[in-house]
């Protein structure tokens, strides 16, 4: 394993510490915890808390700030934060108007966020609502699976719910618009090279020089299928086909995200985006806004995902509303 780190056991700690030092006027940290909160907290605003395991940088702490999250709670790499940490994060930013929890659909995250929500309600009388993001179409959504994973589409939930909360909406309204995003957002990803969890020291899967994994998640786990590597255009076509067979976006206006997994050059992301734009045009799907970059990563994995979000006037306004966070500015 080759990484630019100091101590394999302090990766999460030093990462958060560096993020705070890079944004001292905007972010602060709850002492000794992997909790990042925004400095300019407003009174009378629904608080928004999200989080999950580390390794997805800039998610989630990079989205803490004006117009997005009030707090991000992190766990070890790819491991949900504990109930205690989540509760502490909620307590730190709660200001009487309730808290929306944005949770990616993984067994660990859901259990810990649920237990934390119960704890703060019982002990601190804090009202919370929770939305669970499951935008990954690689996984079938049925009673026979743990349900679809929450992946890059989560960033749109952060942005739009954050804007709604910043406008002074009530908790129920913020939760409703977050759910609206979840209902209209779909993602599909692939990888050509795996990542190494620092504490594990070995990759989550290995691929031959001419192989790729289709339908990967964001935790370095294998995808749903292994195939021979094909051209960027072919890969984009396959990913889009899977997304479009889940929601028919024809005639809609969409926000598009081509998200890098951490180790993918922007050069390749733009090549992929070019094809996405062409295919969507062909299918009469109008691109309202585009996002190309590393938004929800899997450490150094090489690969990318495509996310489509169907927009209406309300979602367009909220997507365009001001935001000022380390990783997302409007």
């Amino acid at each position: 394993m080759k990484k630019i780190i100091n101590d394999v056991t302090r990766v999460e700690e030093e990462m958060i510490s560096g993020l705070i030092k890079a944004n001292p006027d905007k972010l602060e940290r709850i002492e000794n915890e992997l909790i990042v909160v925004r400095r300019d907290r407003k009174k009378d605003k629904v608080a928004i808390v999200s989080g999950g395991g580390s390794g997805h940088e800039p998610a989630h702490a990079g989205y803490v700030g004006y117009g997005m999250l009030d707090a991000a709670v992190a766990g070890a790499v790819y491991t949900s934060p504990s109930v205690d940490v989540i509760s502490e994060g909620i307590r730190a930013v709660e200001n009487g108007k309730g808290t929306l929890l944005i949770v990616k659909n993984y067994t660990g995250d859901v259990i810990n966020f649920n237990m934390a929500a119960e704890e703060v309600e019982d002990e601190d009388d804090i009202k919370t609502m929770k939305v669970v993001v499951g935008d990954d179409v690689a996984v079938e959504n049925s009673t026979w699976t743990a349900g679809r994973r929450g992946v890059a589409g989560t960033i749109f939930v952060h942005k739009i719910a954050g804007a709604m909360a910043e406008n002074g909406a009530e908790l129920e309204e913020v939760a409703a618009v977050a759910q609206k995003v979840i209902d209209n957002v779909r993602t599909m990803g692939m990888a050509i090279n795996p990542c190494i969890v620092p504490a594990a020291g070995i990759p989550g899967f290995t691929l031959g020089d001419d192989e790729m994994e289709i339908g990967i998640g964001i935790h370095g786990e294998p995808g749903v299928r292994r195939e021979k590597l094909r051209s960027a255009d072919d890969i984009v076509d396959e990913l889009l086909e899977k997304i479009l067979s889940d929601i028919d976006y024809t005639g809609s206006e969409v926000a598009v995200m081509v998200n890098g997994c951490g180790g993918t050059p922007l050069m390749e992301l733009y090549i992929a985006f070019g094809r996405v734009a062409d295919v969507l045009k062909e299918k009469n799907i109008k691109i309202y806004r585009s996002f190309v970059g590393n938004f929800m990563t899997s450490i150094e994995m090489e690969g990318f995902s495509i996310t489509l979000l169907r927009l209406d006037e309300q979602l367009k306004t909220l997507l365009d509303a001001p935001a000022d966070t380390p990783a997302f500015k409007n």
């Binding site: 395991g53 766990g75 070890a76 790499v77 790819y78 491991t79 949900s80 934060p81 504990s82 109930v83 205690d84 940490v85 993984y106 067994t107 660990g108 259990i111 810990n112 649920n114 237990m115 690689a138 996984v139 079938e140 026979w144 699976t145 743990a146 994973r149 969890v197 504490a199 594990a200 070995i202 989550g204 899967f205 998640g217 935790h219 370095g220 786990e221 294998p222 995808g223 749903v224």
Partner: protein, 202 residues
């Protein structure tokens, strides 16, 4: 099982989980996200540091504290699942200087129910539950700990082996679908390892 024995078993379990850290992690790498061994070892290392303090506590309080450490230190999904189960066992055992076999089995049954409620998993979905329920059934058949736990270990071992044939439909291994066939479930395995330590110590 008296308190001294309980503390000794916890220490021994911590050592054995540490020895199996890489093994559990490798199992998890094949079908999950490759951190089960690391997380379990981190939890038991935290428990081990507290062992000397356990001398002053009741058996129930010890189980509850182990549960709290798991929820706090392990996190992920194994942390709150195992942790909540340890807490339930602790509540069942109560403020006592020893753990009777009947109390343990009752606590274990309630602990499994808690895990199933939190994780929404039933038998046959390639999770830790697949090793726990057969073990519980053997324990319930026996009147004394020596027989019950021994038979439970054998049942769990068989069940762990059987997880190779199951398609994961819950937990993170469910994302790889049919590709999970042929791979042993890491959660079921860590449970089997813990149960085996218990059996050998009794």
């Amino acid at each position: 099982m008296n308190k001294t024995k309980l503390i000794e078993i916890l220490g021994r379990t911590a050592d054995v989980i540490e020895e199996n850290k890489l093994y559990l992690t490798e199992l998890d790498t094949e079908i999950g996200d490759g951190d089960h061994g690391i997380n379990m070892a981190r939890g038991f290392a935290a428990v081990k540091e507290k062992l000397s303090g356990y001398e002053e506590m009741s058996c129930g309080a010890i189980f509850i504290d182990v549960g709290k450490m798991f929820i706090k230190v392990v996190a992920g999904s194994s942390g709150p699942l195992y942790g909540s189960a340890f807490k339930v066992i602790g509540k069942t055992v109560g403020d006592s200087e020893e753990v009777t076999y009947i109390q343990f089995v009752e606590g274990f049954e309630k602990g499994i129910a808690k895990i199933q409620a939190l994780g929404m998993a039933k038998e046959g979905e390639k999770t830790m539950i697949d090793a726990m329920l057969p073990a519980l059934r053997e324990m319930q058949k026996a009147d004394i700990a020596a027989d019950g736990i021994k038979n439970a270990v054998a049942a769990a071992e068989k069940a762990v082996e059987h997880t190779k044939e199951i398609i994961a439909t819950k937990g993170r291994a469910s994302y790889v679908g049919e590709r999970s066939i042929g791979h042993q479930d890491p959660g079921a395995t860590s449970f089997y390892i813990m149960l085996k330590v218990l059996s050998e110590a009794l």
